[in-house]
């Protein structure tokens, strides 16, 4: 009895970290940030991706989209706060474990079907060869399709997607634009002022 309990305890002890590490969640982060200097914010975000084995999926002067290793993405908040402040934050986690399990099961079934078809192909009569070949092609295509979907989901799990929208900090004097504006009221135009609770009063 004691031995059984010890085995169960050992299984739980060894299995728990394995379960925790086997993530099945995709992660998407959306940030709306305000920066005094957009160029600096964009440059900081790009360097963050390069330093942490991530990559820049898209960037412009107002938006940056990064793909970051899931274990390093948590630092994104600090990086944003280096060059500005956060106005809006949304995090979306989606469990794709069930889809992955389903795809892997289907893959196994299709692979065993493929093996059976090859066996039939070897022993087939001349008349049957064409039909088996057609079926083989169909199954191979399905297998590749499933493998592609599995690879896509695994990629979404291992790399989180971070979208940062960069807005000019209201009242910023460092922005290149502010210096070019001659009339004060023109500075008050724009969606940022209209949509912010203080700005449109």
């Amino acid at each position: 009895m004691k031995r059984t309990i010890a085995i169960i305890a050992l299984c739980i002890f060894c299995g728990f970290p394995a379960l925790a590490a086997d993530g099945t969640f995709t992660q998407e982060y959306f940030y709306g940030m305000f920066a005094a200097e957009r160029e600096k914010a964009v440059a900081r975000l790009r360097s963050f991706a390069a330093e942490n084995n991530g990559y820049v999926k898209f960037y412009s002067s107002t938006k940056v989209v990064l793909r970051m290793p899931a274990e390093r993405v948590q630092r994104i908040r600090e990086v944003i706060l280096d060059t500005g402040y956060i106005g809006d934050e949304r995090i979306q986690r989606t469990d794709v474990g069930e889809s992955l399990l389903d795809l892997r099961t289907r893959l196994k079934t299709k692979e065993s079907l493929l093996a059976s078809l090859y066996k039939i192909f070897e022993d087939a009569q001349v008349q049957q060869t064409l039909e088996v070949e057609k079926e083989l092609g169909k199954v191979v295509m399905e297998i590749e399709n499933i493998k592609g979907r599995i690879a896509y989901l695994e990629d979404r799990i291992s790399l989180a997607e971070v979208t940062v929208s960069i807005n000019i900090q209201p009242g910023s004097k460092k922005g290149a634009v502010s210096g070019r504006t001659r009339w004060e009221w023109i500075k008050s135009l724009g969606i940022e002022r209209l949509m912010s609770s203080g700005g449109w009063r």
Partner: protein, 158 residues
């Protein structure tokens, strides 16, 4: 005594003339809000309306100083917005209730991780520039767009 009374009357009359002027020179905006918008009725200096899904309309005026015409101010506004990353997507002329001709320009802008639309209409008189702004997320704005343009035809001041 008569001099004192006359002076006091003068002060009172002057005050009556000045005090309403403090409310941005007594301007009152007239604009029929599009369907689905609620108007802030306590505003004196500007006109504001908001829809349930967050699309906003604001009208206000600024001094036309240095004096410029509609084309000049339209270009100044456009240059400023383009510098900030706004993309012009549409433009049309609108005529206000009192016959003023204005330019209505719509821009696309990525704000707070969402595609937004921002529209600014400029009416220029000898003394003032009247600005009517409208904006919201692209999807919500699109649903209200027709109503907003229709309301601009009803814009006027008293």
């Amino acid at each position: 005594m008569r001099t004192v009374i006359a002076a006091l009357s003068g002060i009172v009359l002057l005050s009556l003339c000045i005090i309403p002027g403090c409310r941005t020179a007594g301007v009152k905006y007239r604009m029929d809000a599009p369907v689905g918008f609620a108007v802030y009725t306590e505003d004196a200096a500007s006109y504001r309306a908001i829809s349930a899904d967050g699309v906003r309309i604001r009208a206000r005026r600024v001094e036309n100083n240095p004096p410029g015409d509609a084309a000049m101010w339209g270009q100044a506004v456009e240059a400023h917005l383009k510098n900030r990353g706004y993309h012009r997507i549409a433009e049309q002329q609108v005529t206000a209730r009192n016959g003023w001709s204005g330019s209505f320009t719509e821009y696309a802008y990525w704000y707070n991780a969402e595609e937004h639309r921002y529209a600014v209409t400029i009416f220029v008189t000898a003394d003032h520039i009247y600005l009517v702004e409208a904006g919201g997320t692209a999807e919500r704005y699109a649903r209200k767009r027709e109503g907003i343009i229709k309301s601009l035809g009803q814009f006027g001041v008293e």
